[in-house]
């Protein structure tokens, strides 16, 4: 599904990713863990296509056999990539319902499906909003405006559930969440887990991985994956702390 080879990327001239390799197969859940500043958010943003991030020559990112880096941001979304933001933006004046209607039909259109009529979309939204435990009246409110941190993350999960992506990247979705909200995130992911859908869960802590059991755990340090393993690696990290990997990791030249 996703093949990343030798990915190097920089922001404002500072190289953050320094040759990252990762392969995600259909149906797999990969957790990417790492200390602050290791490049976790840069990876998420590069995959989603944020323009402030400069990807260097020689980097290869293949998604479903296509060169992902050549695709516009919206093209990536239409081809099934979803990024759950660490800090979802507030958009005053655009109601959540209007926004959801727009994105559902935009993605459906790109996938050659018919646009859903308004009443059907509304029904779908009303059903799905229950799964993220947000009150129905949030649909009428401006997108994320005045939402608490947890409500914003639930709203991200609602969008993911409605768009049914092929590859979902959760960028520190768990940060700042209480235990109930975290369970909601885990439930939505676990509900969506299936053979041809993959997840990349970027997180600082092991906590979320108690509820979403990953197939692989990778440790990102200094712009590279320095250690990979199964779910037990997350527990080991929790126990020993990131200093343990930092010491083991080969120093950059």
């Amino acid at each position: 599904m996703l093949k990343i080879k030798n990915l190097k990327a920089s922001v404002d001239g500072n190289q953050i990713l320094k040759g990252l390799n990762l392969e995600v197969k259909p149906g797999e859940v990969h957790a990417i863990m790492g200390p602050n500043g290791s490049g976790k958010s840069t990876l998420s943003n590069v995959l989603a296509g944020r323009e402030d991030y400069e990807v260097e020559e020689g980097s290869i990112v293949e998604y479903l056999g296509e060169d992902l880096l050549e695709l516009d941001v919206e093209e990536r979304a239409k081809k099934g990539i979803f990024l759950a933001f660490q800090y979802p933006v507030e958009i005053p004046g655009v109601t959540t319902a209007t926004f959801l209607k727009e994105i559902i039909n935009s993605v459906r259109e790109a996938q050659g499906k018919e646009a859903l009529p308004a009443p059907q979309i509304l029904k779908l939204m009303r059903e799905k909003i229950k799964t993220v435990d947000l009150p129905q009246e949030f649909l009428k409110r401006s997108l994320n405006e005045g939402f608490s941190g947890g409500e914003k993350k639930r709203n991200e999960m609602l969008q993911m559930a409605l768009l049914e992506p092929q590859l979902a990247i959760l960028d520190e979705t768990d940060s700042g969440l209480d235990i109930d909200a975290m369970k909601v995130v885990a439930n939505v992911v676990n509900e969506l887990r299936k053979q041809d859908r993959s997840f990349i869960i970027v997180t600082h802590y092991q906590r979320l991985l108690n509820y979403i059991v990953p197939d692989f755990v990778h440790v990102l340090h200094n712009g590279r994956i320095v250690k990979s393993g199964d779910k037990s690696l997350a527990l080991e990290l929790e126990d020993k702390g990131y200093d343990w990997v930092k010491k083991e990791a080969p120093q950059t030249v």
């Binding site: 941001v73 919206e74 979304a77 958009i91 004046g93 655009v94 401006s142 969008q159 768009l163």
Partner: protein, 445 residues
């Protein structure tokens, strides 16, 4: 010193002669005496230069230079009228084509119940109305310092006196519908309305300005309009102006509002059309506990120039004013907001709020924002804010990551930006209509 500007005045004086010649029988009426006084006044005035503080950002030369025709035709088929009506709006409609009233297309015999409407000349002959008309009108002729007001009075033909008797709630709206058509020569017209709301009365006035021309055939004209409005004690007025003039036209809106105690005046304004647009909205408080609301939204593209000048004259204690103006400027468009709030020494306990926010979408777009608070009382609450910014890139990115293309994402954010103004309109049909206009303009190239 003002030779060049005098030349322009002279041209309008000459134009008045041909205008007067075409008036025929009306010349004998006292109304015409007023026109002559106004043109006489114009002789003593000159058009403002950019050295004039109120006209610093808005040059008038292009507006006053053409030789205008004063007698454009007023043809329009009934079929073409339909698309300019406002969906679901409960209103009596008066149709003006190129500034001229088309009685046959208007609901003159089905006016909103309770509302009186007549030409000013008729009101002048009416014992109940003549004093009111004189009082409202005199300020815009003999004493005015503004050449455009003098011009409006001198060339006024299709003028109107609107009267709402005391304690009358007019539930149906009055819709003044202007449609312009392309003519061989640029033309010019001067709509004029005197509006009197009796004690405890209510009315809704909707003005819409439209162009029938498209692309290269857009109409070329100068609409020099004036409203003088008097709200007696406890009267309420909702006043809408939805403007989609030709992008080859000039649109000058002079609206003065005099408010007696406990009255509430709300103005909702949407400017999308016009090459040169200037709004002068002036509210004067004449009694306690008056409320003035000014809401304005504009969207300029191409070479459009859009100027909103407002004045709230707080002369009396215990009055409120709210102002919210938001504008978007793209391409080489130029926006101006000049909001003056004058709080006189006696106007204690004044509550005045003003906010102006603008978005610039291109390197060459310009916004001049000038909030102007002059406060001479010491026990008041006055606040103002002016912001000029760009479309938020992270919001655009967010929408794009959800599969919305860049152009549509930007449209959505612009719509949302102006919606903050539009959503204050109490009438749902007008809110929907204004939103539709905005969406259409955003989607146009």
């Amino acid at each position: 010193m003002t030779n060049i500007q005098d030349k322009h005045i002279d041209r309008f004086l000459t134009l008045f002669q041909s205008f007067e010649g075409a008036l025929n029988g009306e010349k004998g009426h006292p109304m015409h005496e007023w026109r002559r006084k106004a043109i006489h006044r114009l002789k003593d005035l000159s058009f403002p230069t950019r050295r004039h503080e109120e006209w610093k950002y808005t040059p008038v030369t292009k507006v006053v230079s053409p030789t205008y025709s004063v007698n454009p035709n007023s043809e329009l088929s009934e079929k073409k009228l339909e698309k300019f009506k406002i969906d679901d709006l409960n209103a009596a409609v008066l149709v003006f084509v190129n500034g001229q009233l088309r009685k046959d297309l208007s609901d003159l015999d089905q006016l909103p119940q309770g509302l009186q409407l007549m030409p000013m000349s008729e009101a002048l002959d009416h014992p109940d109305y003549q004093d009111i008309v004189k009082e409202l009108y005199i300020s815009s002729t003999e004493k005015t310092e503004d050449p455009f007001l003098a011009m409006n009075a001198a060339f006024s033909k299709e003028n109107m006196f609107i009267y709402v008797p005391a304690n009358t709630h007019v539930t149906q709206a009055l819709h003044i519908l202007h449609i312009n058509t392309p003519e061989e020569l640029p033309y010019f017209y001067n709509p004029q309305k005197l509006i009197h709301l009796g004690k405890g009365s209510k009315m809704v006035l909707v003005e819409s300005y439209n162009d029938l021309g498209e692309g290269d055939t857009k109409s070329e004209y100068f609409n020099n309009m004036q409203n003088v409005i008097h709200l007696k004690g406890n009267a309420q007025m909702d006043h809408y102006k939805l403007q989609r003039e030709s992008t080859r036209s000039s649109h000058l809106n002079n609206t003065s509002i005099y408010q007696d105690r406990d009255s509430v005046y709300s103005n909702y304004q949407l400017d999308l059309g016009g090459l040169w647009v200037r709004n002068n909205l002036n509210a004067y408080h004449k009694g306690e506990n008056v409320t003035t609301n000014f809401y304005g939204a504009f969207l300029g593209k191409g070479n459009q120039h859009m100027d909103a000048h407002t004045l709230v004259d707080h002369a009396i204690p215990h009055c409120q004013s709210n102002e919210l103006y938001k504008g978007i400027l793209d391409d080489k468009a130029h926006g101006v907001f000049n909001g003056k709030v004058m709080v006189h020494k006696d106007a204690q306990k004044t509550n005045a709020f003003q906010q102006n926010s603008s978005l610039l979408l291109s390197e060459k777009a310009v916004m001049d924002a000038k909030p102007q608070l002059e406060i001479f009382a010491d026990d008041v609450k006055c606040s103002h804010g002016a912001t000029i910014g760009h479309l938020d890139e992270s919001s655009v990115f967010f929408l794009r990551t959800r599969g919305i293309n860049e152009k549509r994402a930007k449209e959505m954010l612009q719509e949302a930006f102006l919606l903050e103004v539009i959503e204050n309109m109490p009438n749902e049909s007008l809110r929907a209509y204004a939103s539709k206009w905005i969406a259409e303009k955003l989607a146009s190239e």
